[in-house]
């Protein structure tokens, strides 16, 4: 059976590149090495496909020819004074390059999904910088790993195994054995507590109190993993220590750590629900490590404080570098959201929310970012690619998006594509089309073509190029 190996997985920001895919008669029958999320995409991607170009006529989406759909889209974009081009994070860099050229040509605003995920992280980086690295550096060296406001066990399932605590590096070894034995202990403890509760007639389902005390392995020299979150997630259970923070108090906690690392004393007993003695101990562990890292997710970027949280986190890492080596990295979601930022930046100087209406790139998130433009009802047309804003945007923004003429390029039927005026059936990049994408640490890797696409689908690059050519053709004719 033909096996395609070293396939990159077009799902999350971990962007694993060791997937093996078994193909039989142009159908993927099995996947090896992938996590549940990755395997599901490879095995089920063919469902709910957009099969043909659709154009809305008399309120109904009806099948149309490619030429008609392309012409209609070009006309929409030309007639608009302030079109929005949104999405990009789940397609290839090659497509994003054409997209930027199209946005420049039509004088629109182009924005990617980081506007609603790690946008605050980018704004913070522009404020204070960032001390980061590639993931292999951590695999080889990191002995203290923080996951802050993120849940890799569920969202980036192979992150811990490939890059951090359970990976084997040159200077640091995997701790999965210790974890397995500890897991046994945790399970038997759970059972025992349940039995006692039953016997004593207590509420079995009540959340058990979480111990604040640092376990002995936090003081050992080997690799340690700490999870900071508002609730006990699966990742937290895999961690050596779980630090539960009160919701929306991350900023206080980070600043408290900064004070403790600067050897200042705190006048309060608790910060963000954590006793100061515990914080002191953790601060000592931070200073004592050889190389520490903080991974942070939307639990930090999208809760109260937003960019100020990230400012504090990056500043904490910066301060720690005076005592030891410490790094920080955002846990990027989509497999090419980092790539979207990268391509935007080299072509326009800015990573997202780029406005071409003056003929040159302008950037002012809050003004030129897609949600704000939609809420102010300024846009008069939209092109959405590789994204589903109707399902995810705030209601008002989504309403104003679908009010205007809307072009959607997507392999699958989504709430957004159902509301569109033109729908292009595209191929799946990384399964049916080649390309390039960037892992969360900005390591570029190739996306592979494993199977042939359905006959009536074109790649994102081709679709965008066709629209761009049509726009230029119509414009030169009108002149």
């Amino acid at each position: 059976m033909p096996v395609v190996s070293h396939v990159t997985c077009p799902v999350c920001g971990s962007f694993c590149d060791d997937i093996e895919v078994i193909v039989k008669n142009n159908v993927i029958t099995d996947v090896r090495n992938a996590c549940a999320v990755g395997a599901a995409k490879f095995l089920d991607y063919a469902n709910h496909r957009n099969a043909k170009p659709l154009v809305r006529k008399n309120g109904e989406l009806v099948e149309a020819s490619w030429d008609e759909a392309v012409r209609k889209s070009a006309e929409i974009l030309i007639d608009a004074t302030y079109p929005l081009l949104y999405g990009w994070s789940s397609t290839s860099c090659e497509a994003i390059r054409v997209g930027l050229e199209l946005a420049e040509e039509v004088g629109g605003v182009i924005d990617n999904t980081s506007t609603i995920c790690h946008g605050p992280s980018i704004l913070s980086i522009q404020d204070v910088g960032i001390a980061s690295c590639t993931l292999g550096q951590l695999r080889h060296r990191a002995d203290l790993i923080f996951y802050w406001g993120c849940n890799p066990w569920s969202a980036h399932p192979r992150h811990v195994e490939r890059y951090t605590t359970f990976s084997n590096g040159r200077f640091q070894k995997s701790t999965w054995r210790a974890h397995v034995s500890r897991l046994g202990g945790i399970l038997s403890k759970k059972r025992l507590r349940r039995a006692i509760n039953l016997v004593l007639g207590r509420d079995v389902f009540a959340t058990p109190e979480i111990s604040r005390e640092l376990p002995y392995n936090m003081f050992q020299k080997k690799r340690k993993m700490v999870v900071v979150d508002v609730r006990k997630t699966h990742s937290a259970e895999a961690a050596d220590y779980f630090l539960q923070v009160e919701p929306n108090k991350d900023y206080e906690l980070l600043q408290a750590f900064r004070m403790l690392i600067a050897d200042e004393e705190l006048d309060v007993d608790h910060v963000a629900g954590v006793p100061v003695e515990t914080l002191n101990e953790i601060a000592d562990v931070m200073i004592g490590c050889k190389l520490g890292v903080i991974f942070f997710g939307l639990g930090l970027t999208m809760t109260e404080g937003k960019i100020r949280n990230i400012d504090a986190a990056i500043s904490l890492v910066r301060d720690l570098n005076q005592r030891t080596k410490f790094l920080i990295m955002p846990m990027r979601g989509h497999f090419n959201v980092a790539g979207a930022n990268v391509v935007f930046t080299w072509q326009t100087g800015y990573p997202f929310a780029v406005d071409f209406s003056q003929g040159y790139p302008q950037y002012n998130p809050g003004e030129t970012s897609v949600i704000d433009i939609l809420c102010r009802e300024e846009a008069d047309a939209g092109l959405v690619i590789a994204s589903d804003p109707v399902a995810h945007f705030p209601k008002k923004a989504a309403q104003n998006l679908v009010k205007n003429p809307l072009i959607v390029i997507d392999p699958q039927t989504t709430p957004t594509s159902l509301m569109a005026d033109v729908v292009f059936p595209s191929t799946f990049v990384g399964i049916e089309t080649e390309g390039t994408a960037y892992r969360m640490d900005h390591v570029p890797l190739p996306l592979k073509k494993i199977v042939e696409p359905p006959s009536n689908c074109l790649s994102d690059v081709e679709i965008l190029q066709r629209i761009l050519h049509e726009v230029r053709r119509i414009r030169s004719k009108r002149k």
Partner: protein, 564 residues
């Protein structure tokens, strides 16, 4: 292809020993030829103008991971410098770190046609080449960072020069690189745990090897592979007071590897490695010592890394140095360590003429440029954007060509720096011929780009024409006219086509990407060895690491026969 004749220009072509002769150049099919049919050819009247080969820049950070992170880091750098889209050109932004298209256009406007991107983390080479594909107008190449690569450290530690050469050859092909770049050898590996090395005899922690052994080892490897360029070295202790001694040690340590007068080492942005003194207060110029050494030893080439007083962005692969700069300035700081290979850092920086240190740095660069006697071994760079953006080259040309220009700037710099500067004692002024050497001919020679940097028959038709008459203008007095002429070429010809005219882009063209393909006797053996060990070193697969040639928009491989 169009035929062109450039008529009546004053031609400066140092590689062919032509010094301001009035002559015509014929161009056919992108090459310089002996003769074309005058009736068919388009004629460019260059009377009263200077004609030079297209500029060659041996060291400018224009693409790749760190440059792009620099762009991301500094929206404030972009707001005040924008270029709108035209019918021919794409839009862009950026003063010290322009976006890719703008970079290409600005070089073309200055008459530059070939540029070298000097620091490419091998793991992120794909990124560099993606950006180079989007950098129009110029031919280009990249140097992979190899001085701290674990394979190099291990091979050299174990004395396995030939294996090391094979590994280096493999990575040149895998990353489509052009030369061996060494940055703070050993220091970047140490930086993985926040440490550094102190001098070239210090031991690299955990690897039991010294920077000296790395430099010598890679110098030997470079010879075994017959690479077109020498090793390209950013010294240890860069940017620290007292480091001129380290720079001298670095040059000395490969002295006995040189033969038949050929250079074996290039010390890049030498200004940053030419400091005497023990701290910033006692900083003095070490340019005299370095120039003296270089004047007596033919195995070294240098480039300037000239400081210009302006706001810019520093970015190097030297992580510990950038951290030091962050501590010094308190500015925003980016660090990016790359597994098994290298690191990098970025800090925005403003060079102020009233600062003693910055003014001294300014003076050191020019002192080096003027005290090194042989222009063929010192090249004009600003280590763009570290010491200044590349668009400041015309100002540096005017300083090199005119004592007046230097005196005028000198009057406005920090008083103490002025009193200590050697510049007032230096009479030398560059001629146009020498400028042509330090901005194109010498650099092309050092890179062994045989088609570039000259206007002999068979050379690529990359030509810059500047509107200044060397018979009428005395560059010493009219330095402003010189500056203006070099800011915007009258014509830039790339591959036989006029691409820029009077500072306007008239045609957008795509440049080639050069890379070196060393021919090994047993390439399969090396590949197998790499494949076996690959997963222990990186977090990506062997098959996904190498960049296929088709990934380059216009690939121009240079095959060399290796001795291994």
């Amino acid at each position: 292809m169009t035929q062109l004749i450039v008529k009546n220009g004053f031609v400066y072509d140092p590689l062919n020993r032509i010094d301001g002769e009035k002559m015509d150049l014929a161009i056919n099919d992108g090459k310089i030829v002996g003769k074309v049919d005058e009736k068919k050819a388009k004629v460019i009247d260059a009377s009263g103008m200077i004609v030079m080969p297209g500029g060659v820049d041996i060291h400018c950070h224009i693409a790749g991971a760190e440059v792009n992170t620099g762009r991301l880091l500094r929206p404030e750098d972009h707001f005040r410098d924008v270029e709108a889209k035209t019918a021919i050109t794409r839009s862009g932004v950026g003063y010290s770190i322009p976006s890719t298209f703008t970079t290409g256009y600005r070089y073309a406007r200055m008459g530059y046609t070939t540029i070298m991107n000097p620091s490419m983390p091998p793991l992120e080479a794909r990124h560099t080449h993606e950006e180079l594909n989007d950098t129009p107008m110029v031919d280009k190449a990249s140097y992979p960072l190899l001085g701290d690569w674990w394979f190099v450290l291990e091979d050299l530690r174990d004395g396995m020069i030939k294996e090391c050469a094979a590994h280096v050859a493999w990575i040149m092909v895998a990353t489509k690189g052009y030369a061996i770049k060494i940055v703070n050898p050993g220091g970047l590996e140490a930086w993985g745990f926040g440490q550094n090395v102190r001098n070239i005899d210090d031991t690299v922690p955990r690897f039991n090897i010294t920077p000296k052994e790395i430099i010598r080892g890679l110098c030997k490897v470079n010879k075994l592979l017959h690479m077109p360029h020498t090793i390209h070295v950013h010294t240890n202790n860069l940017g620290k007071a007292g480091n001129y001694a380290t720079a001298l040690d670095t040059m000395k340590c490969v002295e006995n590897l040189a033969s038949d007068d050929k250079p074996v080492i290039h010390i890049t942005h030498c200004q940053f490695s030419a400091y005497k003194g023990s701290n910033w207060r006692t900083l003095r110029s070490g340019a005299e010592e370095i120039a003296k050494y270089v004047n007596h030893h033919r195995h070294v080439t240098l480039d300037l890394g000239q400081v210009v007083f302006t706001d810019t962005t520093t970015m190097t692969a030297d992580g510990p140095f950038q951290y030091g700069l962050y501590q010094l300035t308190g500015n925003k700081w980016v660090n990016h360590d790359v597994e098994t290979e290298t690191s990098s850092g970025i800090v925005p920086f403003r060079y102020r003429r009233k600062s003693y240190v910055h003014a001294t740095q300014w003076s050191i660069g020019l002192e080096l440029g003027l005290l090194v006697e042989d222009p063929w071994r010192i090249y004009l760079t600003t280590d763009h954007p570290n010491a200044a953006p590349f668009i400041t080259y015309p100002r540096i040309i005017s300083w090199l060509m005119s004592r007046n220009a230097r005196d005028i700037t000198m009057k406005r710099i920090n008083k103490r720096a002025r009193h200590k500067s050697l510049l007032p004692s230096i009479e030398r002024e560059y001629s146009f011929y020498e400028i042509a050497i330090v901005t194109r001919a010498g650099q092309a020679k050092s890179l062994s780009l045989t088609q570039k940097g000259h206007l002999g028959i068979g050379a690529d038709a990359d030509i810059a024409i500047y509107n200044i008459n060397p018979e009428l203008v005395d560059p010493s007095r009219k330095y402003k006219a010189v500056r203006k002429a070099f800011e915007n070429s009258a014509y830039t010809i790339k591959n036989g086509e006029i691409v820029a005219k009077d500072g306007k882009i008239v045609k957008s063209v795509r440049g080639k990407t050069f890379w070196v393909n060393p021919q090994l006797s047993s390439p399969i053996e090396v590949a197998d060895d790499m494949k076996r060990r690959f997963r222990e070193y990186w977090t990506v697969e062997y098959e996904n690491y190498s960049i296929p040639e088709s990934f380059l928009a216009a690939s121009a491989p240079i095959s060399v026969k290796a001795e291994v």
